[in-house]
């Protein structure tokens, strides 16, 4: 892929994230001016970037969003949920395009149609009287034509030039560009949003918007301003483009007059709406009658009726626009999947702090020095220097190498870390969508999103967390009526928290909903054969609740579109366990549910304890080991084919490691068995070994090749003497 496009994709994604965060923050608290500015900047910069890669469709879509935000900034409009929805839809579309570009390396085909669909949503919102961008920003053509009525009839092109804020720094003079255009007939100037007070005015930032009329054809003007990309909007004024069925024959003058009426109707909501509607309609109908467009006239009359009834000029504006531009397609609602679940989570590129890279570079330098030193030592040995001297040097150099290798490993792992933000930042948006869909108002509180973990861990967390969040919304948070009855706040709170605890990262998803209905869990578990009635009776509530992680369990009384069916929490648990983590659920009836994930900070480094069995050395992940005990062999009891022992009043199953792995068992059986007691997902188990070894920190490699299919092996690592050590997956082994 083109470097340029690659860079564009990286930046564009960051801007989309920024804009999304800002919009959601604004929805929570519309008063945050800096968020509004930031969202506006993000849209604007994205638009500029689209222009640079010649992606017109994307520029158009973002332009509409930018206009809306500009109007909000100018104080002309408020950001309603519907408006936010449209802005988010705009960003959704951009993300889809970015994905397509990522795949193909080029601007996607058919983008114009998609852009039109998004723009139609903006149009539709405007026509329904939703906050729109106001005449000043939105119908700039109409405004411009209205300002220069006498000239507009002769003009062929309307243009709006919004120079970038840093234009002056780049030595540009935007007005000079307009001056140099062919056929300029009129120029209007205005602020991008509104002029700042003079005391705070920054003369070095270009804040002007230039609109102009030209008698030159659009193509000619476009050619002259080609290098400005999306900073310039052009519109053809000649009726040639407006000719559709039954719509031909409108003269330039007629178009100008109609646009003028639209501008008037679009003016800020002054008094006497009825009067304005009436007069604008009368003029427009006359224009159409004069042009001999009876059908159009009838349509406008109908729109006038409706506009009058509702005292809303929007209908009439829409009708006039329809006559000018042709009818608008209504945009289909974006499908749930595309809108709510961003697919690709793998970070293609990693942004790394320069300091971290510098640390690695420095280590590489030190390693080279060490390599030279070793070469020298080898030379000494060959020359017959006393072995003791050579050994002393080697020992020293080995110590140095050990330190450097350790540092290098740490530095590399540091580079691989990502903040949880990478995943968390997607949730506010998704929770918002779900909240709207389920009609349950939610306040999502995200904490600790700066907590870091290995890239692989962070990236694999998205789906499990999304699933848990969905469950919290769908099943956890009660319907409004029930919340009211329980005297809970109408807006439910879901807390998403991440924190580093030693070598692990702990993530909690906590809701203040109804908690898990334990009785129902038991009932369902039995009905679906997840557990037998006897087993259930013996279970504590805590253990019973844990059953929702069992395969084939779903307590939802009605299967909703959100939480899916069947593939439920068991998928969450298996995903987390694949990462070497654990997940637990805690619940208090009527008060809420908390799901707790414990994940390794990194998947690459593992602490293991070595054990010997059948004459071989094995590793056991240290985090699974609870304790090691010596236990009198005669007190290990046989239960059927299996064995168990009782430790502090708890019966723990035991397997003999050598026998399980089909290795020759040792001849002598000492009186005391050596047992490693380990935590397994939902219980405790023990393995009998022949000897306990040492603790080690190893770089775990996934099992490959011949060993790949072997059950009970979690990974491999190299020992100091070059032997391969197998690291056991006790859970699988004891199953």
């Amino acid at each position: 892929m083109d470097d340029f496009i690659e860079q564009f994709l990286v930046e564009a994604r960051e801007l989309v994230v920024q804009a999304t965060e800002d919009l959601l923050a604004l929805e929570q608290d519309p008063g945050q001016a800096e968020r509004l500015d930031s969202a506006f900047r993000a849209f604007h910069t994205l638009k500029g970037a689209a222009g640079i890669v010649d992606f017109d469709a994307m520029g158009r879509v973002l332009h509409a969003g930018e206009d809306l935000l500009a109007a909000v900034r100018a104080g002309g409009e408020t950001l309603t949920p519907a408006a936010t929805g449209r802005l988010l839809a705009c960003l959704d579309q951009v993300v889809q395009w970015l994905d397509a570009m990522q795949a193909s390396g080029d601007v996607p085909e058919g983008a114009d149609a998609a852009a039109d669909a998004v723009l139609a949503r903006f149009e539709a919102g405007r026509e329904q009287g939703f906050p729109n961008t106001g005449a000043a920003n939105d119908d700039w053509v109409a405004q411009l034509v209205a300002e220069h009525v006498g000239i507009a009839g002769a003009a062929a092109t309307a243009l709006r030039y919004t120079p970038q804020p840093d234009s002056f720094f780049r030595g540009e003079d935007p007005l000079a560009r307009i001056e140099a255009l062919p056929g300029v007939a009129a120029v209007s100037l205005g602020p991008r949003s509104s002029w700042a007070a003079l005391e705070a005015f920054d003369p070095f930032t270009c804040q002007i918007v230039i609109t102009a009329l030209s008698t030159a054809p659009v193509a000619e003007v476009r050619a002259a301003l080609h290098d400005l990309g999306a900073q310039v909007d052009l519109e053809e004024l000649r009726p040639a483009v407006l000719q559709g069925p039954g719509r031909g024959g409108l003269s330039a003058e007629a178009v100008a007059v109609l646009r003028e009426q639209m501008a008037m109707l679009g003016q800020s909501q002054a008094e006497d709406v009825g009067g304005r509607i009436g007069s604008a309609a009368a003029v427009s109908i006359n224009v159409l009658r004069h042009a001999g467009l009876g059908e159009a006239q009838a349509r406008l009359e109908a729109a006038l009726e409706r506009s009058r009834e509702e005292a809303d000029p929007g209908m009439l504006v829409a009708a006039i626009r329809a006559e000018l531009d042709g009818p608008l397609e209504t945009a289909p609602e974006p499908s749930d999947q595309s809108a709510s679940v961003p697919q690709d989570l793998q970070a293609q590129t990693l942004r790394v702090d320069v300091e971290k890279i510098d640390a690695v570079v420095r280590l590489a330098g030190e390693l080279i020095v060490l390599k030279n030193a070793l070469g020298h030592t080898t030379g000494l040995a060959l020359e017959g220097t006393a072995p003791a001297d050579v050994a002393a040097r080697l020992k020293e150099q080995h110590a140095l190498l050990e330190r450097l290798a350790g540092e290098l490993q740490r530095s590399m792992l540091e580079i691989r870390v990502l903040p949880m933000r990478h995943v968390f930042q997607r949730f506010p948006r998704l929770v918002r969508d779900m909240s709207v869909k389920l009609d349950k108002p939610i306040n999502l509180v995200v904490e600790g999103d700066a907590t870091e973990a290995d890239k692989a861990v962070v990236e694999s967390l998205f789906e499990p967390l999304l699933h848990v969040l969905r469950n919290a919304l769908d099943h956890g948070v009660e319907p409004a009526a029930l919340r009211a009855e329980r005297r809970k706040p109408a807006v439910a709170t879901i807390r998403l928290n991440a924190a580093r605890e030693g070598e692990t990262v702990v993530i909690r998803v906590e809701d203040d909903g109804g908690g898990v209905d334990v009785a129902r869990v038991r009932q369902v578990a039995e009905a679906r054969g997840v557990a037998t009635a006897e087993a259930l009776a013996a279970m504590s509530d805590e253990e019973a609740v844990d059953l929702i992680f069992a395969p084939g369990f779903s307590t939802a009384q009605t299967v909703t579109s959100l939480s899916g069916r069947g593939v439920g929490m068991d998928a969450v648990r298996s995903a987390v366990e694949r990462l070497g983590g654990r997940v637990r659920i805690g619940s208090r009836a009527g008060q809420g549910t908390i799901v707790r994930f414990v994940l390794p900070f990194t998947v690459m480094i593992t602490r293991v304890m070595t054990v010997e069995a059948g004459g071989q050395v094995f590793g056991i992940p240290f985090e699974a080991v609870r304790e090691t005990v010596r236990f009198p062999r005669e007190r290990i009891i046989a239960i059927g084919a299996a064995k168990a022992f009782v430790l502090r009043n708890r019966t723990i199953p035991v397997v003999d490691l050598a026998r399980t792995l089909d290795l020759p068992a040792s001849q002598d059986e000492p009186a005391d068995a050596i047992l490693v007691v380990a935590s397994l997902g939902d219980g405790v188990g023990a393995v009998e070994v022949e000897r306990l070894g040492e603790r080690m920190v190893v770089m775990l490699k996934p099992v490959e090749g011949l060993l790949a299919g072997m059950p009970g092996i979690g990974g491999t690592t190299l020992l100091g003497d070059g032997r391969v050590m197998l690291v056991l997956d006790l859970e699988e082994l004891l199953r």
Binding site: P163, F168, A186, P191, F201, I208
Partner: protein, 84 residues
């Protein structure tokens, strides 16, 4: 210097005013609130200068000497002035 404050409390623009004049113009407008900007001798003005004039809503004394400014910008400037 193509932008200067005069002794009688007006600000004069003369000849070709470049981007660097915008700051000077802003400074004068801030120190002489309500001052009239006389741009009858102005031939050309950079967008940055025009922008300060617009934002200040200052009253201008024109028309400017430059033909393009006179034809396309002067009216806008007059319309934007709020101070009599």
């Amino acid at each position: 210097m193509s932008v200067r404050a005069t002794d009688h409390g007006t600000i004069e623009m003369e000849g070709s005013c470049g981007a660097e004049d915008a700051e000077a113009l802003l400074r004068h407008l801030l120190s002489l609130p309500g001052a009239v900007v006389d741009w009858r001798l102005c031939d050309r003005a950079h967008t940055a200068v025009i922008q300060v004039l617009l934002a200040s809503k200052a009253q201008t004394l024109g028309p400017p000497r430059g033909e393009w400014l006179q034809r396309f910008i002067d009216d806008t400037m007059k319309a934007s002035a709020t101070r009599p």
